[in-house]
């Protein structure tokens, strides 16, 4: 029991004692996940919308691929990205292996199917008459897109939270393509794993506490955005 308590005290010291490396790791985690989420939103929302609002041959197959993508284990994603970025791999010339960029790329492939799949489902749930009404208002293609996105704001924010939760807590892919290089590619999850494997429980607990705080704060902020303007049911 002794080392659990010790770990807890140690974590408080690391957190509030101004340990720069802990903050650095937390910030890097946030940076990698936020960047991956941003890229996924920019690609995923238009992609999901395009699939939801148009018909073309092979559409159901694409939807099935996206839905599968939502559940692919991160280690598998990491493996595939690693194979491509490996020195002798197809994209080896880019020298991205064991960099923050590689970690972002891997996480994009985890978050993108979640964002695309959930925005697709949300748009399909919307009454088709809504789209006609927006067109009848005189909206062109892009205006229609924005007005529809505003209609699915609530489920879309749920997609953002799900995707963020998926990447901030993910360890397999970032470990494989980032390598957990101290001071370069170490993030909260990989730090926890390696600290535990070295028996450094206190450091692991500290990073875990930071991860939980980070996760809760961002989700709380996103929830506030999501629920803003929604009428409270009394």
């Amino acid at each position: 029991m002794h080392f659990i308590l010790q770990g807890f005290w140690e974590s408080l010291r690391l957190l509030f004692g101004g340990d720069s490396s802990t903050y650095e790791i937390a910030l890097r985690s946030l940076y990698v996940s936020a960047a991956a989420l941003g890229v996924s939103l920019v690609i995923g929302v238009p992609l999901g919308s395009a699939i939801a609002l148009t018909t073309f041959p092979g559409r159901r197959f694409i939807v099935a691929v996206i839905n599968t993508g939502m559940g692919v284990p991160p280690v598998v994603v990491g493996l595939i990205v690693a194979l491509f970025l490996w020195r002798t791999g197809p994209l080896g010339g880019l020298h991205l292996m064991y960099t923050v960029q590689a970690m972002i790329i891997a996480q994009v492939f985890i978050a993108l199917p979640i964002v695309a799949g959930l925005s697709l489902a949300a748009l399909q749930q919307l009454d088709p008459g809504f789209r006609l009404q927006i067109m009848a208002l005189g909206a062109g293609r892009w205006r229609s897109f924005w007005l529809l996105i505003r209609e699915i704001r609530v489920p879309l924010m749920a997609a953002v939270m799900a995707a963020f939760g998926g990447v901030i807590s993910e360890v397999g892919a970032v470990l494989m393509v980032g390598g957990n290089i101290i001071g370069q590619t170490e993030v909260l999850t990989t730090g926890i794993v390696t600290n535990v494997s070295m028996g450094l429980f206190a450091s692991a607990v500290a990073l875990a506490v930071v991860l939980m705080i980070l996760s809760f704060t961002t989700n709380y902020a996103m929830t506030l955005i999501q629920q803003a303007g929604l009428k409270q049911k009394s």
Binding site: D127, Q133, A136
Partner: protein, 379 residues
């Protein structure tokens, strides 16, 4: 037949227009025109293709054939967008955007680039017109069905459209809400010069607002004409069956000092009615309520009656009874008689008879927009 013609130049005109989906022709019209300032009702049973035709006419759906908007052909997607920007539409559901009532009413204006004071002024006007200024800051979740539909209509009228398309706008509302909104819309459209294409399956709604009626069945136009013409002279069995057996007579209600209510018909003939408010109205006479006599009946001792000297036009079976059609001046009067009564009277086409209706049996429907004199039937 009617000399009634469309009120002005055509805003929207279709020639040989059809909507084909999956190899099936959903709707085909040889010619259709929506004229400036007219309220034109697309009437017909469910599944007749009314909504599909409306969507082809306002640029929501691609269609084959020729479509003209203000005389210019509508062919490309860009043409259809311009058509939609110059018109507006209201559907059975209000489809309000996730914003305030004012935000909704402003949305069409914003899309058209209206900003600042003008945006505020025009949305205020539209809110006032529909009587919903007090709801301006409410969100859609707090509105009743009738309020939401008013917002949708205000949003459609705020853009000052060349034509408004209404697709079953009353179908989701309860009867009192529907009656109130119908009366308000009547008054609003009377003031505005916008053309209105109103899709409905409800004959009373059509009678209350329509100046012209196009009857659609199985994707084709069965009859098109001035409202009174279509209702009184159905051109096909499908129209007659749909409209029912009632006879509709259009005119103006006068109430004299003694309180007697009379409907002055367009050709000068008069009907004595039970009750009604002064103003334009349509009288509905059910053939069940019409009696037929060979000699003029004595009015003494009976309730006040309308007695018309008429000539028998023809018969047709109606269930176990027979429907006798008679010409009364330029009007048609129908009576539903039992087979025995028919044999007893021994009626023949061309024979002069007396049709009688109790004043209390005549139902008056107020009609806001009076028919133009040119619509008087001259046959």
């Amino acid at each position: 037949m009617s000399a009634g013609v469309t009120a002005g130049p055509a805003i929207i005109e279709a020639r040989d227009l059809s909507v084909v989906r999956g190899g099936k022709t959903l709707v085909h019209v040889d010619r259709f025109a929506l004229a400036q300032g007219e309220i034109h009702v697309l009437l017909g049973p469910n599944g007749a293709g009314k909504t599909t035709l409306m969507r082809a006419l306002n640029g929501l759906e691609k269609a084959d054939g020729e479509l003209l908007f203000e005389g210019r052909p509508v062919r490309s997607g860009g043409d259809r967008l311009r058509l939609r920007r110059s018109t507006s539409a209201v559907f059975q559901q209000a489809y309000l955007l996730a914003t305030t009532v004012r935000g909704n009413v402003e949305s069409g204006l914003r899309i058209r680039g209206v900003r600042g004071d003008e945006l505020r002024r025009r949305s205020d006007e539209a809110l006032d017109m529909l009587g919903i200024a007090h709801l301006a800051e409410r969100r859609r979740s707090g509105l009743s069905g009738g309020e939401a539909q008013r917002v949708s209509i205000a949003r459609a009228l705020a853009v000052d459209p060349a034509a408004v398309f209404l697709d079953e706008p009353m179908a989701s509302l309860d009867p009192p809400t529907r009656r109130q909104l119908l009366a308000d819309l009547e008054a609003i459209f009377r003031r505005l010069s916008t053309a209105v294409l109103w899709v409905t399956h409800d004959t009373e709604e059509a009678l209350a607002v329509a100046r012209r009626v196009t009857f659609l069945a199985d994707g084709v136009v069965v009859q098109e004409g001035a409202t009174a013409d279509v209702f009184n002279n159905p051109a096909a069995q499908v129209v007659a069956d749909y409209l029912g057996l009632d006879v509709w007579l259009e005119g103006t209600v006068r109430v004299d000092e003694a309180g007697a209510v009379r409907l002055l018909l367009l050709d000068g003939a008069e009907l004595v009615c039970g009750e009604g408010e002064p103003g334009p109205a349509i009288a509905c006479i059910h053939p069940d309520d019409v009696m037929v006599f060979l000699a003029r009946p004595e009015a003494a001792g009976t309730s006040l009656r309308n007695v018309f000297e008429a000539s028998v036009r023809g018969f047709r079976p109606a269930g176990r009874s027979r429907l006798v059609s008679m010409d009364w001046g330029s009007h048609r009067i129908d009576a539903l008689l039992t087979r025995a009564a028919c044999e007893e009277l021994d009626l023949r086409p061309g024979q002069t008879v007396y049709a009688a209706v109790k004043a209390s049996a005549i139902q008056l429907l107020p009609k806001g927009r009076a028919a133009e004199p040119e619509q008087a039937r001259t046959s």
